[in-house]
Every structure is written in C-alpha cells, then in structure tokens.
Symmetry: C2
Subunit: 189 residues, 2 copies
C-alpha cells in the first residue's frame, strides 16, 4: 500500500506511510468506500467527445449548456486550466482541451495532442473566435504559435494577455514580463 501511495504526485515515503497507517486504523466500510470511489471515478469519468474536457457523459456539461456561446472556443493545455478559467466566471464560450503542450524533449509532438479534432471543429462549425489560453512557458509558446498558425486561415485567433499579475509590484516583475506589459499597453477608459 505504501508503494502504491508513493506513486501519486507529491507524495513521498513519509506521507505514504502516514496515509497507509491511517487507512489501517479506519473501519473496513470506510476503506471500501474510498476504494470504490477511485474505481467509480476511473470507470465513469472519460473525455467529452467534442472538447476533450473531463466528463462523465459523452458530451460534457459545458458543451451541452444552452447558455454558452458555441462560436467562441478557448483552447487550453489541460482540464485543470478549464477549471481555473471557469472559476473566473468571466468566460461564457466553449473550450478545447489539447491534452498537453508540444514538447519534443518529452516526445510530445502535435499528433499526440487533440489538434486535429480542433481543426475539424473550426473547419466544420461557424466559429467566430478561437482564444489561445496556453501558459506562456517555452513549450506553451511553441504550442500557441503552432496551433495559431494552423487556425488563422479559418477564423479570428487571439491569445490571452501577458502582463503584470493583478496586485503585483512593478519592481518585482521580471524584465521580459515588464517589456511585454509595456508592449501590450492599452487605452485607459
């Protein structure tokens, strides 16, 4: 059991041991409930066939919601990013989860990501805007430029803004972020 726990992200030998000893102290019904929850989630949660977000149904809640705008697609690397963006309560369009970023070092090329299904969505439906919301790391930038290049002939392609984090201090911003914040300046309304 300790070995199995240690395979989980962020759990080292000591935490694994603590978790294991905790499990041994609990009543059997409680342990069964935990084991069953793991199996149920694994069996029931798959991917949305449209946007590849995690979903218990063939089509996820966001893709099914009539209140959301299907003509805007926000492209993200991971389902975690959908959850982060949903928390802002600012976005009312659809998503597309690539399933990672292009990273030749880790053997991830464009074919390992859900880029072709995205192209199909954009080519077949009437899409007004694709927003690329991929983290501005080196791999993320590569992915943004690659996907953006492919989509540009079909629709309007935008990307989320670089700049100072809200509440952040100019003095502590790195030079590249500061340069981008200056470059991306906007009219004050």
């Amino acid at each position: 059991m300790i070995e199995q726990f240690q395979r989980l992200p962020g759990i080292g030998p000591k935490t694994a041991q603590r978790l294991a000893l905790h499990i041994l102290k609990r009543p059997e019904t409680e342990v069964q409930a935990l084991a069953q929850a793991l199996l149920d989630a694994k069996q029931q949660i798959g991917q949305c066939s449209i946007c590849f977000h995690l979903s218990a149904e063939p089509v996820c809640e966001i893709c099914r919601a009539p209140s959301r705008d299907p003509a805007t697609i926000c492209v993200v690397a991971d389902s975690r990013d959908v959850i982060a963006l949903e928390k802002t309560r600012e976005y009312r369009g659809h998503y597309h989860v690539l399933g990672g970023v292009i990273s030749p070092m880790d053997g991830v090329g464009p074919d390992q990501l859900a880029i072709k299904p995205l192209l199909r969505r954009v080519a077949q439906q009437s899409i007004a805007e694709v927003i690329l919301a991929i983290s501005p790391t080196v791999e993320g930038e590569t992915t943004t430029l690659y996907v953006g290049h492919l989509l540009k002939s079909f629709t309007r392609v935008t990307r989320i803004a670089f700049g100072l984090p809200v509440g952040g201090d100019l003095e502590y911003a790195d030079e590249v972020t500061l340069a981008r914040a200056l470059e991306g300046r906007r009219e004050l309304h």
Copy 2:
C-alpha cells in the same frame, strides 16, 4: 552604530550587530571612505527638475538624452520603477516619477505627489502619449485612474497590460489576473 544600522530597511538587530563588528575590524581609511560615500551621495543626488527621477545634475540623463523621444512620458510611482523599466531596454521615451501612490490611509493625497508638474508638462509640451506604469495594487489603481482622468483631455493615455507573467503557469494564476488576461486578449500575429 548598531542602533543606526537597525534603522535601515531589512536590517534587524543581528545583522546590525554583525555589520557593526565588521566595521570595527576594518582599517580607519576604509571606514572613512564608506562614511564619505554616504555623505557625498546624499549631498549630490537630488531630483531631476523635469521628471523627478534621481539625478546628480539638475536635469537627469534620460531627460537630456537626444536619442530618446520626449513626446512619450511613462508615469511611474518611484525611481525604482524607472530602473526596472530601463532594464527591459524596450522603452525609449521619457519618464515622470510621482514619488508614491495615492494612499489616504498613509496620508498621501494627490497634492503630496508630483501630479501638478506632470499636468504642466503635458499641457505645455507636445506630448503624443502618456503611459501609466503604476503597480496594479489597490492604491496603484486609484492613482492610475485619478491621473488618467486628469490627463485624458490633453493627450492619449494608455496603461501597461495586466495578464500572466511570462513563464508563468495558468493553473497558478489568481482568478482576477486570469479574468484580466482573458479580457485583455490580443490578435495573434
């Protein structure tokens, strides 16, 4: 000496004691050189009469440089921000240092800042753009909106971009920053 050192920012009793003991071990000429450097800097470094940046001359190097564009003024809270922006090597205009941000809690109102001299500069010279580069904290936002409102009838007023820091991860961005990054999205070129 320990008491004096302790008055400096970021120096507690232990560091103050360590610095003081170090000074006592050094030759007298070295201590005199340090003392003189402090006095010289204090006596010689004042403010630029145009932009209020630190300067040994009545007009600072940036305001005097013929290679820089005097029609663009970047407004910052502090001389530290000028230094941070200069490190990006992206900006070729002039600056205006307000000397702080509006903060009623600390008794800092608009009259305590170099806002009137800024208005005078913009009214008297031909200024194409004023870029507000004030940290997006609560006080910074108040200052940006106050100064922007006053300047808008004279010239184009922009502000630096909010968004994700370069190299940052979407998942770790706070919700307000993420919402602003989404709102501030730009065409992909």
